[in-house]
């Protein structure tokens, strides 16, 4: 069991110790967890400080920048805006848990199109696009314009081309 107030080393005791109310469990990248610490703590700091899943980045505390975007039950959410109290029964996916042993088509497309410059916002961008492509097989102009994740390096044109490429890769893998 994890306790936010005294984070144990990341490698120990990720699984529930037993005795907790199963209804309060939540999943992170397919593994069950319980949280006994401050219920107001945002998911972002749980992922980073407790689970050491540092692929989810801190960029602001207001949900404006999107660097902390994760999937909750498959939907893109700002981890800085979700308190731990709201997580019972939900499944969280971070960039680390997107795929195991291979690349998600969106990650593959990001690499092929060489999107990253500083790279810091890209986990959040990728998670947002994973959600978008799961919802829309053929996202339109407005869908792409609605991506509100900020990138200070200005990689937007390559994000666009990576989305195009991800669509092709997804279609190919579904054939």
């Amino acid at each position: 069991m994890k306790n936010a107030e005294s984070p144990p080393p990341a490698e120990t005791g990720k699984r529930p110790a037993g005795g907790e109310d199963p209804a309060s469990a939540f999943q992170v990248n397919g593994e069950a967890f319980f949280h006994s610490g401050d219920p107001a703590m945002p998911l972002l700091w749980y992922l980073r400080d407790v689970l050491r899943l540092t692929g989810t980045k801190y960029g602001c505390d207001t949900g404006n920048c999107g660097t902390c975007t994760v999937l909750i039950d498959g939907k893109a959410r700002r981890a800085c805006q979700v308190p731990m109290a709201d997580l019972s029964g939900h499944a969280i996916t971070t960039i680390e848990g997107l795929e195991s042993n291979r690349l998600h088509p969106v990650q593959q497309a990001w690499i092929e199109q060489d999107v990253a410059q500083c790279g810091y916002c890209q986990s959040g961008q990728i998670m947002t696009v994973v959600d978008l492509l799961a919802r829309k097989r053929r996202p339109g102009k407005d869908d792409i314009a609605a991506i509100a994740n900020l990138c200070r390096c200005g990689t937007y044109p390559r994000i666009r081309s990576a989305i195009e490429r991800a669509l092709v890769l997804t279609r190919d893998s579904n054939k």
């Binding site: 936010a4 107030e5 005294s6 080393p9 990341a10 401050d38 703590m41 700091w45 980073r48 400080d49 407790v50 050491r52 899943l53 540092t54 692929g55 989810t56 980045k57 801190y58 960029g59 602001c60 505390d61 207001t62 404006n64 920048c65 660097t67 971070t94 960039i95 680390e96 997107l98 690349l103 990650q107 593959q108 990001w110 690499i111 060489d114 999107v115 990253a116 410059q117 500083c118 790279g119 810091y120 916002c121 890209q122 986990s123 314009a145 609605a146 991506i147 509100a148 994740n149 900020l150 990138c151 200070r152 390096c153 200005g154 990689t155 937007y156 044109p157 390559r158 994000i159 666009r160």
Partner: protein, 748 residues
């Protein structure tokens, strides 16, 4: 190669053999003091080395990247230079980030002008020499092994090949090569015609690690026993803590300590901490954040509590209205005389706001101070200065200070400053424990070292044939130095106006005069530096002259640039500026945007060009107003940055800088009221998002075989003027104040 270059090369190349039989070729200040056996590289202990090539027994190639990657692409481009000369298959190369430490400082003070190893211009020779020397050693080793002259051998993708067809891998030769002495004569570098990797579009070396969330930035560093610190800083420049009630903060579970940090003294040099503050030290980030929120602090305002943006504007206007007692930066011919003879004199005044860096990863630093040394983990671009700062604040000897430089989440100039390192050291000293200092977004926006505020008054005198006979440029701006008394000499203008910027050397009568403006706001380097101010004022003004005299704005620029020639230039990127290369970039840009095409659809086209840091760049935009919304239909960037080592990376820099330039020019400003910064979140500092970014930036890189120039900063300065000129073309509204959008909405 010059004698000096040869000497420095020998000074920095060092050679060694690892315990596992890998060959190392590195560079270090103390190369001669080290024997080959002192370099040890065992198993995972890679980060103990400085700049080097490492060849493993199984022919794996590891190349160390010096400097600090913050998105400018050096982590890929610098190792490419080594790999090219080493003649290895890039797909087999593993790039690792090198740490920095004083003992292995790879840069001689007399060889390089400024602080750190960050760019392709600096690495162009040194990196290739390192690769070529490693290859030379491998060739010698093979020649010895086969008892044949080196002339019978050549290299090919990580192998030495004999004329008779025999082949040995670098891995097999590494041990023998490491036993050889370094060449006494400089090793010849490849003929550029033989380049296989340089000039080839190459993806970011750690692209996969980024896309999978595996790259560790400074903020991602966790070590056992390290406490997290979050600071509350005095909101008043030069202010101090008056009272503190930390009872509630200390009661929060996980909070370990609350530490007061004394502010800098008035007049203290501006290199250290920015403000007085209170640090909450906790077991985790959330506890530290909550602890800070629970602090009850009152502050004594410093001497700047009356400062405001409107007052600064008024002071700048007053200085320019008086137009006297300025610091003369450059005076050619007789501007006043040209005014008397002029058919027409034009004037315009341009204003640029303070700007924040707003790196996506806010500043952070992890510091472990021990009795016998220190470890810093932080993305810093001036590592030598960071080391000196730790030394000054802790008393630890420089050679015991280790700096690890993780990939940084953006810099734009922010990580050239080490104020956050100083804070971390002070907190760690008082806490008696290793500390990771985290800056939150509000800290980042409200306590930055801002791009200076500036007002530029330009005047041009036109002769009977509407030729620009005289040009005067008065700049009133807040100098880069702050907290110390304003210096009354030309050096104080650096960072605010480019002394030899356009059209110096092109117009016979030219005045460039600086009027320092006092302010309590911390100031610092910002991507593109003084060129962002100079180019906005100059390139908008050329457009205004063209409009007033009914000239074509491209023709007027070309006329002013005149015949292709080299013009003396004292700024970075000198000693000359090539008017022909700038004219070429401008012409190409005009061609791509279809400048001459008549547009009847309400679209307007604007153009601008600029020389900075050795690069010749032009931008053009096609815009229109639709439902009171500015739409950018096309964006073109043409750049001559010399040889593009990695065209894919150069394109990314030019594209990204263009978008950064648009973002900044349209909406961004930091404002001051009651001596305090008004911006605290991205909602107050609205970076451009996907919705407002052009779908495409049309980038054209001019082919060149001249030495490469870093592309990181050079494509910012011409963006804002090209946009303002395009807005004028579309709307006839001339905007002389940044950011453009609030002004446009006010004037429409």
């Amino acid at each position: 190669m010059s004698t000096r270059a040869a000497l420095s090369r020998r000074r920095f190349l060092q050679l060694g053999l690892t315990a596992s039989g890998a060959l190392l070729v590195g560079f270090g200040k103390s190369a001669f003091a080290r024997t080959t056996t002192q370099i040890e590289l065992i198993g995972e202990d890679l980060v103990k080395l400085t700049g080097y090539v490492m060849i493993e027994r199984d022919n794996g190639i590891v190349i160390g990247a010096p400097g600090c990657e913050v998105g400018q692409g050096v982590f890929t481009a610098l190792p490419m230079l080594i790999a090219e000369e080493l003649d290895v298959d890039w797909s087999r190369v593993r790039v690792i980030q090198l740490p920095y430490d004083e003992a292995t400082d790879i840069k001689p003070a007399d060889d390089v002008m400024h602080g750190n190893f960050n760019g392709i211009s600096e690495g162009w020779k040194l990196m290739r020499e390192a690769g070529a020397t490693a290859r030379w050693l491998l060739l010698q080793a093979a020649a010895n092994a086969w008892a044949t002259p080196v002339t019978n051998l050549h290299t090919e993708a990580g192998h030495v090949v004999h004329a008779d067809g025999r082949k040995l891998s670098y891995g097999a030769l590494a041990r023998m090569a490491a036993a050889l002495s370094l060449p006494t004569d400089p090793v010849a570098l490849k003929d550029p015609r033989d380049f296989q990797l340089i000039g080839k579009p190459t993806r970011t070396a750690d692209a996969r690690a980024i896309a999978t969330g595996q790259v560790r930035y400074g903020i991602d560093e966790y070590m056992s026993q390290v406490l997290v610190a979050v600071m509350l800083r005095c909101p008043h420049p030069g202010g101090s803590l008056e009272s503190l009630d930390d009872k509630e903060a200390r009661a929060i579970k996980g909070v370990v300590d609350v530490i007061r940090i004394e502010g800098p003294q008035p007049g203290e040099a501006s290199a250290g901490i920015l403000a007085a503050g209170v640090a909450v030290v906790a077991e985790n980030t959330w506890a530290a954040i909550q602890g800070r929120r629970a602090l009850k602090a009152t502050w004594k305002p410093g001497p700047w509590q009356e400062e405001s943006s409107s007052r600064l504007t008024a002071s700048a206007n007053a200085l320019l209205d008086a137009a006297k007692d300025g610091i003369v930066l450059r005076k050619d011919g007789d501007f006043a005389g040209s005014r008397k003879r002029a058919r027409l004199t034009l004037n315009a005044r341009y204003e640029l706001p303070f700007l924040a860096h707003a790196t996506m990863e806010p500043p952070n630093a992890l510091i472990d101070l021990r009795n016998d040394g220190a470890l810093l983990v932080a993305s810093v671009q001036d590592a030598p200065a960071a080391a000196r700062m730790i030394n000054a604040l802790s008393g630890l000897a420089l050679e015991t200070i280790e700096l690890r430089l993780p990939r940084g989440g953006g810099s734009f100039g922010r990580r050239l400053h080490n104020d956050f390192v100083a804070e971390a050291v002070l907190i760690a000293k008082l806490a008696g424990k290793p500390v990771k200092l985290m800056w939150m977004r509000e800290d980042d926006l409200a306590h930055d070292l801002y791009r200076p505020f500036g007002m530029h008054e330009l005047s041009a005198t036109l002769d009977r044939r509407n030729r620009v006979a005289g040009w005067s440029h008065h700049c009133a701006a807040t100098p880069l130095e702050w907290r110390t008394p304003v210096k009354q000499d030309a050096s104080t203008a650096s960072g605010c106006v480019e002394t030899d910027g356009f059209p110096a050397g092109l117009v016979d009568n030219l005045d460039r005069i600086f009027h320092p403006l006092d302010s309590g706001m911390p100031r610092g380097a910002w991507r593109g530096q003084q060129h962002t101010f100079s180019a906005f004022a100059e390139q908008c003004f050329v457009d205004e002259i063209a409009a007033q005299t009914r000239r074509d704005a491209v023709d007027l620029r070309l006329e002013m640039l005149g015949a292709s020639r080299e013009i003396p230039y004292r700024g970075t990127g000198g000693p000359v500026f090539d008017s022909g290369r700038l004219a070429n970039a401008l012409k190409k840009c005009a061609e791509l945007i279809r400048w001459k095409e008549k547009r009847s659809n309400g679209h307007g086209v604007g153009i601008a060009c600029n020389f900075s840091f050795g690069a010749h760049v032009a931008h053009a935009f096609e815009v229109s107003m639709e439902d009171e919304r500015l739409r950018i239909h096309r964006a073109v960037c043409v750049a001559d940055v010399g040889r593009a080592v990695n065209p894919l990376g150069v394109e990314a820099q030019l594209m990204g800088a263009t978008i950064d330039g648009i973002s900044t020019a349209l909406r961004l400003q930091v404002t001051v009221r009651g001596g305090q910064v008004q911006q605290k979140d991205f909602s107050d500092y609205p970076l451009l998002a996907m919705a407002d970014a052009p779908d495409k930036i049309e980038v054209h890189i001019i082919e060149s075989s001249l030495d490469p120039i870093d592309a990181y900063e050079v494509a910012i300065p011409s963006v804002a003027p090209a946009l303002a000129n395009a807005i004028y073309a579309a709307t006839t509204v001339r905007i002389r104040k940044l950011p453009l959008l609030p002004e446009l909405m006010r004037m429409l």
